[in-house]
């Protein structure tokens, strides 16, 4: 009993807070909390995906026409950028587990560069939509846009506007999550710079990584659903 107490006191730091029995229990508790948070995030985005599915079912042709007006090459590039950033996140955690501080810092910086590149490309996409008057609102215009696969038929601008509203809300909410992620990773970078992460304690990296991967998964679904409804030549 006395041995256990002394071990407990020796480890008293962020790697073992007072109310946990051992580091493993603390790691499990923290990870469980993060997964419960991600569950609420899934339901948050789930409502939007549900709205999208309902309207897509009703106005499929109009959605296909509107989807075709978005630059799918930019969207595809952004998917690849996010996948690369997810790789650098797992490599950062591996670097922390094997005490490679400079590699850890390099991977965190790379992750943030990929994140910023994603937002930059997203910005180009939004600019195009503004220039084409595809932003829902008073100056919205989507006249004489053909419905793919139905020659001579044109999309209903009101229905296309619903697509663009969903496009801006869903990608906008996703971009907001990216901005929050960049904030988290700035903090992780500062901690890594100060040498706070060791093979025994790098829980913040793992938690930040879980968040980053979740945002990646949301995009993995957004890309085909918004950009690739009907791309037949």
């Amino acid at each position: 009993m006395s041995v256990q107490t002394s071990v407990h006191q020796d480890l008293h730091g962020p790697e073992l807070l007072h109310h946990f029995a051992d580091p493993q229990q603390q790691r499990n508790a923290v990870s469980l909390g993060m997964w419960i948070f991600l569950a609420t995030e899934v339901m948050f985005f789930g409502g939007l995906f549900c709205a999208y599915l309902i309207y897509r079912g009703w106005f499929f042709g109009d959605f296909a026409a509107a989807s075709k007006s978005i630059n799918a090459a930019l969207g595809g590039t952004n998917t690849a950028v996010l996948i690369c950033s997810s790789l650098t996140v797992v490599l950062a955690i591996w670097a922390a587990q094997t005490s490679r501080r400079m590699l850890l810092i390099a991977m965190l910086v790379l992750t943030m560069i990929f994140g910023l590149a994603f937002l930059g490309i997203k910005g180009i996409e939004y600019r195009d939509k503004f220039e084409e008057h595809h932003v829902p609102g008073a100056s919205f215009s989507f006249d004489h846009e053909p419905i793919p696969g139905h020659p001579g038929q044109y999309a209903n601008p009101q229905h296309a506007q619903i697509f663009f509203a969903l496009y801006f809300i869903m990608t906008g909410l996703h971009a907001l999550h990216m901005i929050v992620g960049l904030g988290l990773f700035t903090w992780l970078l500062v901690m890594a710079w100060k040498g706070r992460f060791t093979p025994a304690y790098h829980t913040p990296l793992e938690i930040g990584g879980l968040y980053w991967h979740f945002v990646d998964i949301v995009w993995i679904y957004l890309f085909p659903l918004l950009y690739l409804i009907d791309r037949h030549p």
């Binding site: 789930g46 991967h213 085909p224 690739l228």
Partner: protein, 86 residues
């Protein structure tokens, strides 16, 4: 292993982009969702380390997340899909 998953995810991205250009009728959406779900599973199992997670409580949270998302979608679709809107 991480690099293998990364390559698979990039291949999946190119695949979903190219398949969208082929006319498969109603199957286009199905193929797109299958590829997206495969990619999401790869990220969750390997990058988020769900594979090999031993804690039962964690598994319960993940499974109930998927279940409630399914419930949300299925009940909403069952409602809107069977109503006869004029």
């Amino acid at each position: 292993m991480y690099f293998g998953v990364w390559i698979a995810l990039l291949v999946g991205t190119v695949l979903t982009y190219e398949v969208a250009k082929i006319d498969l009728g109603a199957y286009n959406s199905a193929v797109a969702l299958i590829i997206a779900t495969t990619k999401a599973l790869l990220v969750a199992l390997f990058f988020m380390h769900l594979k090999g997670a031993s804690e039962k409580l964690l598994k319960l949270v993940v499974i109930s997340t998927v279940f409630f998302l399914f419930l949300l979608m299925a009940l909403a679709m069952a409602d809107y899909g069977t109503r006869h809107w004029s």
